[in-house]
């Protein structure tokens, strides 16, 4: 359908649009018009992606001055979904306005691991080894050597790309990663380098958050993006954590050991070079005297990671004299590693700011701050000069340099915490030196500054006014959309009491109480006997989960649960969890029914959807507060309080509610089965997905927690669903499930959809 929003013709590839999608478009357009940033919350499963794409591409068509749309997703899977939607949209646009006007080049970009088509290299398992494998075949000196010596192996795909690809750009269209690989195979071009080159010409680029937020990566990939770009962060509810992780470094014993080995090896290579090719080292020295600025014109395949420091903080001067010579620099690193090793060898927790850390560093080990700042670039340059290709072997020394550079550059918003052991396991010595970024706004600031419009959107951004403070920006539009439901297909409940009417909670003083454990067990038992197919349970932490499952086992509750459903448990081992999930799905498919025990903030909670019959019910046992004795968390809380005036309690509650919500929303309700409804067009199949969520803790009843739920869940949370006991919850669940199993009335669902005529009518009304 095609309609006009305030003078802008929007092409929408479906025959109907939902009211909230339309409202979303209007708000988004206002933000784009104002060339400002915006923060939009819209429920999961209401078709955010297509709404965003449809409006922004239409906006691009109307305003050719707009450079491109940069769409950031969290996972490769999401990326492919976005590109699929975009393809559908593109086909529609072509049909509407002809292929010449609707010309669009859209592509996804991911790491070499996902794009490489070289038969040997692509078989490598880790990202680093694929990168290194690629480098071995494509580094400039390798290729130069291969020209004379035919025995040296190179990558035929890269050669193919070099020869022709660089002149002949990709024909317009929408390319997913898979398409790129297929295209690369057909032409014999390297899809990774092709994609990287084509970014400059593309109208829509879809890639990972990191490509914009992590300065190490964005320095290479996103450097050339124009200001007139629109940046979208989808599923951005934990964007602050991504920002913080981008600037944080952890050093452990094995890193330092590895770094020592690396340094030793570097020394060997340097001495070998000195004997054979001393001239090369001298050239590097001269170049460094002139400054590192020349590094920009390095060959495309040679630079692999840029400076970890944000672009504007990089010093534009020559490398200080004391680390210009290769052997001096290596000695410098050796001293630094030695110093860090000493610091790590402690039996008390140490917390320091970067300033005092660098000061003691320079007095104790003679490592001055100025030189620290250049470590990363200097190492980079050295590795190039020494023509090292096995970069995956030098990861440890890179981590150390990364740390040194960050510590040298930043004085605020960071803290250094040295812990001799994990708080929870005090007998096992596991010293770790953490440079943790406390300020999420640091990493994202360049993005806000550089680009015209940044859109941050997700299903759960509540409380929505906290995000501008955390990220320190001024959005022009903040809006939280509710949804129009065809029926009450979402049933949130707050359970405060067990079957014996005593309160239940995961509060510290109550959590080991056998009464509470039994009540939680009875709740689970009643629910598995009431709810069909898949049930997912979330606990506040691994240790709590282990404890409670043990007690249930002793009480015989687990055995009773097993009579109704099979039990699967998430562990910290990724492979085991994946296997458990697969079997869980199978058990749900074949009608046996299954229950999955998982941990809030775990892998499952943050990344896996339990849609349809896989998650008819999600139970959140307790409120998942962060581990408040964690030193890093405390440092961050302190910083937030001092800098942004955000109270500790506020942040903790926000974080706890948000993460329990994210867990619970893994029951990813496809509210309308949009695809079916919108693709089929006239025949609306409104048999939608449905699910229940139980927040099992009396503290959810408190208004300060309840109010932090997003508006669209609060509107479903009815008065009579608060403060429930187990038997009442069972009753509600029974009724709900019976009601939802009835075929729904197609007439009702049609009223939430707007057709083209409806929109035209609305536009004709002046006061809309």
């Amino acid at each position: 359908m095609k309609f006009v929003i305030e003078g802008l013709t929007v092409y929408f590839p479906y025959e109907f649009i939902y009211r909230e999608q339309y409202a979303y478009m209007v708000e988004l357009k206002h933000a784009l018009d104002a060339r400002g940033h915006c923060l939009l919350e819209m429920p999961t499963g209401t078709g955010k992606t297509i709404t965003l794409l449809s409006l922004i591409t239409s906006y691009q068509l109307a305003n050719p001055s707009l450079a491109k749309l940069i769409y950031c997703t969290r996972t490769v899977h999401e990326m492919e979904k976005v590109l699929d939607e975009l393809r559908r949209l593109h086909l529609y646009q072509e049909k509407e306005i002809g292929s010449s006007r609707a010309k669009i080049l859209a592509l996804g970009l991911s790491s070499r691991k996902n794009l490489c088509i070289h038969p040997v290299v692509s078989g490598e398992t880790s990202r680093e080894s694929v990168d290194a494998g690629c480098r071995k075949l494509t580094a400039s000196w390798v290729r130069a050597a291969a020209e004379t010596n035919l025995d040296i192996e190179t990558c035929s795909f890269y050669q193919g790309y070099e020869k022709q690809g660089s002149e002949q750009p990709l024909p317009p269209g929408v390319y997913t990663l898979h398409d790129l690989r297929v295209y690369g195979r057909q032409r014999g071009w390297c899809p990774y380098f092709l994609a990287r080159q084509m970014i400059q010409f593309a109208n829509v680029v879809v890639y990972n958050y990191q490509y914009l937020l992590d300065p190490k990566v964005s320095g290479i990939i996103s450097k050339e993006m124009q200001k007139e770009c629109i940046v979208v962060f989808d599923e951005a509810h934990n964007i602050d954590n991504v920002c913080i992780e981008a600037l944080s470094v952890n050093l452990r014993q094995n890193n330092l050991d590895g770094a020592s080995r690396n340094i030793h090896k570097l020394n060997q290579i340097i001495s070998r070079f000195k004997e054979t090719d001393a001239n090369r080292l001298r050239q590097e020295y001269n170049r460094l005297v002139e400054g590192l600025a020349q590094q920009g014109n390095l060959h495309g395949s040679d630079n692999w990671l840029a400076n970890p420091v944000l672009p504007e903080d990089i010093l534009r001067e020559a490398v200080p004299g004391n680390i210009r010579r290769a052997e001096h620099f290596v000695a410098f690193l050796q001293r630094a590693v030695q110093y860090l090793r000493e610091r790590l060898d402690t039996d008390t927790v140490v917390k320091e700011g970067p300033v005092s850390f660098t000061t003691t560093m320079s007095t104790a080990a003679g490592l001055d701050q100025k030189a620290l700042k250049f470590c990363y670039d200097r190492l980079h340059s050295l590795l190039l000069t020494l023509e090292v290709t096995e970069i995956d072997e030098f990861l440890h020394v890179q981590t150390v340099c990364n740390f040194l550079t960050l510590v040298g550059t930043y004085t605020r918003g960071f803290s250094i915490i040295i812990e001799p052991y994990d708080e929870r396991m005090p007998h096992i010595p596991d010293p770790v030196l953490q440079l943790s970024c406390l300020d999420a706004s640091l990493a994202i600031k360049p993005v806000f500054d550089r680009f015209q419009s940044v859109v941050i959107t997700s299903g759960t951004l509540s409380p929505i006014d906290l995000y501008p403070r955390l990220l320190n920006f001024n959005p022009v539009i903040i809006h939280s959309f509710t949804m129009t439901l065809t029926r009450d297909c979402l049933c949130p409940m707050i359970l405060a009491r067990g079957s014996d009417q005593l309160p239940v909670s995961s509060k510290f003083d109550m959590r080991s109480d056998p009464g509470v454990v039994r009540n939680y067990g009875r709740l689970l038992l009643e629910m598995v006997a009431t709810v069909p197919d898949g049930v997912v349970c979330f606990f506040v932490s691994y240790s709590y989960m282990d404890g409670i499952i043990n007690s249930w086992n002793e009480m015989g509750i687990l055995q009773e649960v097993m009579q109704h459903k099979l039990v699967f448990i998430e562990t910290q081992d990724y492979v085991e969890t994946t296997l458990a999930l697969e079997n869980f799905r199978q058990a749900c498919d074949c009608g046996r029914g299954a229950v999955f025990f998982s941990v809030a903030r775990g892998k499952v909670a943050e990344g896996i959807d339990f849609d349809r019959h896989y998650g008819r019910l999600v139970i959140m046992f307790g409120v998942p507060f962060q581990y408040t004795l964690s030193k890093i968390l405390n440092a961050r809380l302190e910083y937030l309080r001092d800098t942004f005036q955000i109270k500790e309690g506020d942040f903790l509650t926000f974080d706890a509610v948000a993460s329990s919500l994210r867990s619970v929303l893994r029951l990813f309700v496809y509210l309308y089965q949009r695809q079916a409804a919108q693709c089929v067009g006239r025949v609306i199949r409104s048999k939608a997905d449905y699910g229940m969520m139980i927040f099992a803790d009396k503290r959810y009843n408190l208004p300060n927690k309840r109010n932090k739920l997003p508006q669209w869940i609060q509107s479903q949370l009815r008065e009579e669903h608060l403060n429930l006991s187990t038997d009442m919850a069972v009753h509600i669940a029974r009724e709900f499930l019976r009601r939802m199993a009835q075929p729904s009335d197609p007439q009702v669902s049609k009223s939430t959809l707007l057709s083209q005529e409806d929109l035209e009518k609305m536009a004709a009304m002046p006061n809309f």
Binding site: T530, V531, C588, C590, R592, G593, H613, R734, R738
Partner: protein, 394 residues
């Protein structure tokens, strides 16, 4: 208020006795107030189902072989239906069996019960409703798990011997929420699909994925009962004969025998009970064996034995009376003469409200809701049309 204006033709206390479980029609609204269910609304709902069931005139398969699989696992002992799910199911099934043979005299039915992880035969495929009901009533106990796979496998072995013109149907009444299978049920579903078994599921608790999968794959229906009344309704939806199989549309002749009733006092060895019986019974016209009840299949020569009355009763499925159209009573029209008048069937005043006004599209006569139900579900003749024909004759 609007509801008070309508002045229902039955007072609230009268209604309470007319209905078996009047409290179930009470609805609690959001503010906690109780509201009596709307009569007219209920009538509309009833009709909607009728309309859905009827559709255009289609060829129907009136020779059906239906396997009823009942779940008497532990879950059937739950008491959210009073006195227990099992008792309620048994009662509903009893009604269903009677109704089934009433409307499908040429068809057969067998009952399978799932309990304790296995499926067992209660009655083989046969024609007598009383035998089924008797066997079912003597089998009422629930324990163990339910296994859909075992149930389907058992039904599958039965259905295999059915002649190709017969419709193979399975109706599962499922109380449990899970199925405990010895193997992969998805394979069994494929097998059932290949054998052209139409499997429908009636659930008692909630929507279960595998049940939905079974019914979707094999072309059956899936419904979940809200309450006892609803359970009966959705079970009875399986009573009218289904549309004929598309590939079996080429007319083929079915050999049938119309046996005579044996003379009173004649002594013969009964072929179905394998013992000496005196009097009654029917004699197979081909092999002269004696059978006790009709319709059935001769156990000696395998001839389908029916009486002509049975065939005649199946007739109305082939030539259904059209569904009546609802005339919306507009407030402005209510006073006018064209809308006065009474039901053609029972002479009740239609202008008072409380009942829908329904018009036969052929004879243009108006009927009340009760007459509509009677005409479509029991009488199968429209009195209006019949009188028109009589007038034409005279």
């Amino acid at each position: 208020m609007e509801e008070e204006d309508k002045a229902p033709d039955m007072e609230a206390w009268e209604r309470a006795y007319a209905d078996d479980r009047s409290w179930e029609s009470l609805i609690e609204d959001e503010s906690g107030l109780l509201k009596a269910g709307d009569d007219v609304q209920q009538q509309r709902q009833h009709r909607r189902r009728l309309i859905q069931a009827s559709g255009p005139r289609i060829q129907r398969g009136i020779i059906r072989y239906l396997c009823l699989i009942l779940d008497f696992s532990r879950a059937a002992g739950e008491i959210d239906f009073r006195p227990s799910r099992m008792a309620v199911v048994a009662k509903a099934v009893e009604d269903f069996v009677r109704e089934y043979f009433d409307q499908n005299p040429l068809s057969q039915l067998g009952i399978i019960v799932m309990k304790n992880g296995i499926a067992s035969v209660v009655t083989e495929l046969s024609g007598s409703p009383e035998a089924h009901i008797r066997a079912l009533k003597s089998n009422l106990e629930s324990f163990g798990e339910a296994s859909l796979q075992n149930g389907l496998e058992l039904a599958h072995t039965y259905v295999q011997h059915i002649p190709s013109y017969g419709h193979r149907e399975v109706v599962i009444v499922f109380s449990a929420l899970s199925t405990c299978d010895p193997g992969n049920i998805l394979e069994t579903v494929k097998k059932c699909k290949a054998a052209r078994m139409k499997c429908s599921v009636v659930g008692l608790t909630a929507e279960i994925y595998i049940c939905k999968h079974i019914s979707q794959e094999t072309g059956g229906s899936y419904a979940v009962a809200m309450n006892e009344g609803h359970l009966k309704e959705i079970l009875l939806e399986h009573v009218p004969p289904p549309a004929a199989m598309p590939d079996a549309s080429s007319a083929s002749l079915v050999r049938m025998g119309f046996p005579q009733r044996g003379s009173e006092g004649a002594v013969a060895i009964c072929a179905c009970h394998k013992e000496l019986r005196i009097g009654g019974g029917y004699i197979c016209p081909r092999c002269r064996a004696r059978v006790c009840e009709l319709p059935t299949e001769c156990s000696l020569c395998g001839l389908a034995l029916v009486s002509s009355a049975h065939l005649a009763r199946s007739y109305h499925h082939l030539f259904p009376i059209p569904t009546f159209d609802e005339l919306l009573v507009d407030a402005s029209l209510r006073g006018k003469s064209s809308f006065a008048g009474s039901c053609f069937g029972c002479r009740i005043q239609l202008s008072g409200g409380g009942s829908l006004r329904l018009r036969c599209p052929r004879c243009k006569r108006d009927f009340c809701f009760d007459c509509d139900v009677y005409i479509h579900e029991s009488l199968h003749n429209c009195p209006g049309c019949e009188t028109l024909q009589e007038e034409a004759v005279t």
